[in-house]
Symmetry: C2
C-alpha cells in the first residue's frame, strides 16, 4: 500500500511517519513544503497548492492530511486559511476518490463556549476562521463518504504537546512551551490560571490514533472527536515541576483553558485512545 | 441604495424584484444568466462565475443571492454544485465586504431524519450535496459576520410554491405541480401519501421575508430558519380540489414529505412570517 502523508515534516507529521514506519504499514511518500533534513522515505518538497504536488499526493492508496494553517495565523489571514484549510482538503477529497483519506480536523470546530460535558452529540459551533474551515471540510467529507465517493475518517485532534518552541501561528503555543520551560529549568509565566483546563494529547498517542484510522477498514462520515486527556493546568505544572507563575490572559483562557468534561464513547468504540494520565502524557511529550 | 438580486429571473427572484419595486427599496440591478423578457430594471444577463459579472454584482450596497443549482441537479453533479452552491456564495461573502448580503439558504441543511419538533436549537445534519454546500456557506457567512467583515443574514427557505412547471432539478417539484394540475383540471398522481407533511411558503411571502431581511438593520451570523407553514398533503389537495390519486415514492416521502412540527421563534422575533394558512397559501401561490 502506498501511503502519502502531508505536513510530513511538521511536529505531528514526524510522529506519524515514525509510527507508520514502525508498523511497516506500507510504502510512504512524505509531502511538505520543505524538510529540515533529508527524510528516510521518498518525499516531495513542494506546496500542495501546486497541482503537480497535489497530483503526486493523490497517487497514493491512502493519505493522511496534516498540513494546515494554524489557528492564530488563520485568524490573521482568512483568505490564506481558505486556500490551505478549505480549498486544499476539498481538492484532496476529490483527488482521493475511491481510496482512503484521513483528515486531521480539530476541537476548534466546537468554538468558544462549550456545554458540559462535550460528547458525540455536541453540535460544533465554530467561533474562529480555523474552526469554521475545519467544520466546512468535515461536512464536505461526510457528504463524500455518504455518496461512497471516498473512504476514511476525519479525526478531531485536541491540543497536541509538546510542539517545538517557536512553532508559528498557534494561539495554544503556551501549552507546549511550559513543557520546554520545565525541561530547561527556565522561569515561565503561564498565561492562564492554575484552574484552567485543556484537552491534551501527546504527539505519540496522536500518531498512533492517526495510524489506527488509516489502517482500519472503517469509514466514518461524521467526524470523530478523539478521547483527549482533560488536564488542569496547575496539575500539569506541578507534575512538570518547573518554575511557574500564573498571569491570566482572558482571551487565551477562553480559547484554550476552559474545556469541560469530554466524553468520546464513539471514538473509544472505534479503538482510539487518550494518553493514560498526566505522567504518561509528560513522558510521551518528552519522547 | 443600490440593490443587486441574483437569480433575478427565477421563480423566487421575480417575486423579490416585484416586492422590492413595490417597496421602492432602492435602485435595483437584476442579475441572471438570461431573462425571458426584458426586465423593467437595469440588468446583467451573464454568469456569476464570470468575474466581470461578479464584480458588477458586488458594486451594490446590498445584495440578495438567490441563484443556485437545485437539489436534484446538485446530487447528479457535485462538482458543479461546488462551483455554484459553494464557491460562488463564498466569493459574494468576500465581494460584499463591508456591506449587506442576504443569502438564500435552505431547510435542506437539516438532512434526512428530523427530530420533532425542529426548532432554533436543532443541529443541521445535511444528507445531500445541496444541503451540505448550503450548510458550508452558512458557516462561512456566520464567521464573516463574527469578524465584522460583512452584514446581513442567511435565511433557510422551505419549499416555495408554486414553481413553474418543468423547473428543472428540483426533487420537490411535485409540491408545485399539484397546484398546476388542480388549476388546469388534470388528473395528477401525487408521489407521497395523504399523511405526508411538508414545510411550504408562497413565493409572495418568501419575497416579503427576503425584502424584510434586506431592509432591516440587523445582522445575524447564525442562519435563520423561516417560519414555514406545515401542511399535510391530503389537506392541501382537498383544499386545491383537484383530481388527485396517491402513489407513494418512498424516497420522495423521506426527502420532502416527512417534516415534523417547526418552531421558529427567533425568526418570528426578527419579524419574519409564514403564510397564514392553507387557503392563504393557495391564494398567494396562484398569485
Amino acid at each position: 500500500m502506498r501511503i502519502a502523508v502531508t505536513g510530513a515534516d511538521g511536529f505531528v507529521g514526524r510522529a506519524v511517519v515514525r509510527e507508520l514506519g514502525a508498523r511497516q504499514a506500507g510504502e510512504l511518500l512524505l509531502i511538505d513544503r520543505a524538510f529540515a533534513a533529508a527524510p528516510a522515505h521518498p518525499f516531495v518538497a513542494g506546496d500542495l497548492t501546486d497541482p503537480a504536488v497535489l497530483a503526486r499526493a493523490c497517487e497514493a492508496d491512502a493519505l493522511i492530511h496534516l498540513a494546515a494553517l494554524p489557528g492564530a495565523a488563520a485568524e490573521r489571514d482568512p483568505a490564506l486559511s481558505r486556500t490551505i484549510n478549505l480549498d486544499l482538503p476539498l481538492a484532496l477529497i476529490e483527488g482521493m476518490a475511491g481510496r482512503r483519506l484521513i483528515l486531521a480536523s480539530s476541537i476548534a470546530v466546537f468554538g468558544g463556549v462549550l456545554p458540559d460535558p462535550v460528547d458525540d452529540a455536541t453540535e460544533p459551533r465554530p467561533a474562529s476562521v480555523y474552526g469554521t474551515h475545519k467544520r466546512m471540510v468535515e461536512l464536505a467529507f461526510a457528504d463524500a463518504v455518504r455518496r461512497g465517493a471516498v473512504g476514511g475518517m476525519a479525526l478531531r485532534l485536541p491540543g497536541i504537546v509538546a510542539r517545538p518552541r517557536g512553532a508559528g501561528g498557534f494561539g495554544s503555543a503556551f501549552l507546549s512551551d511550559l513543557f520546554h520551560a520545565a525541561r530547561s529549568g527556565e522561569a515561565y509565566t503561564v498565561p492562564v490560571a492554575r484552574e484552567a483546563t485543556s484537552w491534551l494529547m501527546s504527539a505519540r498517542v496522536c500518531a498512533a490514533n492517526l495510524a489506527h484510522a488509516l489502517l482500519s477498514d472503517a469509514s466514518e462520515g461524521d467526524a470523530v472527536t478523539l478521547p483527549a486527556l482533560r488536564v488542569e493546568i496547575g496539575t500539569l505544572t506541578d507534575a512538570l515541576g518547573g518554575d511557574f507563575t500564573f498571569e491570566e490572559d482572558e482571551r487565551l483562557r477562553a480559547a484554550f483553558g476552559s474545556y469541560p468534561t469530554l466524553l468520546a464513547p464513539r471514538a473509544k468504540a472505534l479503538g482510539f485512545r487518550a494518553d493514560a494520565g498526566v505522567a504518561a502524557l509528560i513522558a510521551a511529550a518528552y519522547d
